[in-house]
Amino acid sequence: MERDVAIIGVGMSKFGELWEKSLRDITLEAGMYAIFDSGVSGKDIDGIVIGNMSAGRFTGQEHLGAMAADMGGLAGVPAYSVEAACASGGAAVRQAYMAIKSGEHDLMLVLGCEKMSDVTQGEAINTVSVATDWEWEGMFGATFPALYAFMARRHMHQYGTTEEQMSLVTVKNHKNAQWNPWAQFQRPVPLEIVMKSGLIADPIRVLHSSPVTDGAAGLVMCSADLAKKFTDTPIYILSSEQASDTLSLHDRRDITTMDAVVRSTKSALKESGLEIKDIDVFELHDSFTIGEIILTEDIGLTEKGKGGKLVEEGVTEIDGKYPVNPSGGLKARGHPIGATGVAQIVELALQLRGDAEKRQVDGAEKGLAVNIGGTGGTSIVHILGR
């Protein structure tokens, strides 16, 4: 018995450095907004999935399933926590999708969260490096930005991608985020400032990198037949696909391509019967701006090596042919690691409902999200439609 799966409610906490709020505060906030938005009540929810990377190290708290259920007054409801580094949020969405599609669950609350500002910057750098192959990369001094710098350096070397193109991704995503009320940086930033910002791991500068962010995002998902009971504007998950690659970046065939993204995008398009040109809006994992350039190539918006040109020509602007990250992306919305994959789906649902206000992509009907774990060891792709 395979069933179609719908999203009937979305919610977000504010993203940013939220000194006055704890992990449980922001998780509850996002979940409650999603529940209010959907119109369901507590008794309708028969399962909870929560995506998180490293609450144990960031806050000292694990067992987030029980925490989420308890805080929401839903103790008794089964709650699962899932981890896939920076793709933990996407993994949570996919777990709920599979559970509902199979018939095991009917209506679920999906959460993603990360509280990153409760530790010092040094501890934060060390905790983020658990997403690398820690024994053979992080251990030798390769920070997470350094690994993306490895990709950027090769991309520049092989395809002539420029620092200016990497900076233009920042400019675009900050421009979009000024219209996103949940974003961490709701202000534009000029190209000269990006190009002159401090180097953290050459050629990557601080304004090419996503920030340290606290935040949570939530969805209410259910079977398509149930969705009509609660809303006139359900958004359907047309496909959900996932692929893996080597844990470490040095074992990859080619570090300018994420094979897991190529594979999972191909199967998601096939599953939904669509071609990439049928998609109206994209949320792509830009933890570093070179990531957005690589992903635009790997999902097929342009050929390998031309991703820099794409942003230069304005193709990925909100009013361009292929709008990428109207939310501001990880760069400007912020990147609370476990929340990101869920926040991408929240943005696509708002876009397809026509509720994205000033950052609305005109008439968007189909959306695609790519959520990456680590340096590409996990790729999770969702295609949504209304």
Binding site: G141, F150, S248
Partner: protein, 142 residues
């Protein structure tokens, strides 16, 4: 990071001190870090220990300027993917040269160095870093 117990590092000493990986006799591929299963051949694979020559070239690199506490005193340092002559790539620091001089394709050889201390009272980890090869050794065929 808090102090780490010793065993996590002690059990890898063979590999990390001498660049010892594996070689699959079935498909001929070399692996570093060592792998317990050949991903090409899986159960048909036959892995044997292999000590790498420690020669290779820079495949890609970065200069780390924002580092975790254990590496703060080394900043700025060059971290690179080194492509070993036998094929596999590994991640290591490049030392004994000006960061400005490091470039893709630069010939390097392994040297034995202190990698890090695991916190204030923690153990000191040693292992491989790489340095530019010298012309006199004949390894400098860029």
């Amino acid at each position: 990071m808090a102090e780490k117990p010793v065993a996590q590092f002690w059990r890898k000493i063979r590999s990390v001190y001498n660049i010892v990986g594996t070689h699959c006799k079935t498909c001929g591929e070399y692996y570093f870090p060592p792998r317990p299963v050949c991903p090409n051949c899986r159960r048909k694979g036959e892995l044997e220990e292999y000590k790498f020559k420690g020669l290779g070239k820079v495949y890609t690199f970065s200069v780390v300027r924002q580092a975790p506490p254990e590496f703060k005193r080394q900043v700025p340092y060059v971290i690179a993917q080194v492509e070993l002559d036998e094929g596999p790539r590994l991640t290591a620091q490049i030392v004994n040269c000006d960061p400005e001089d490091v470039h893709i394709g630069m010939r390097v050889r392994a040297c034995f160095r202190k990698i890090r201390e695991m916190g204030g009272g923690g153990i000191i980890v040693y292992g491989y870093k790489f340095e530019p090869t010298m012309k006199v050794t004949g390894h400098n065929k860029e």
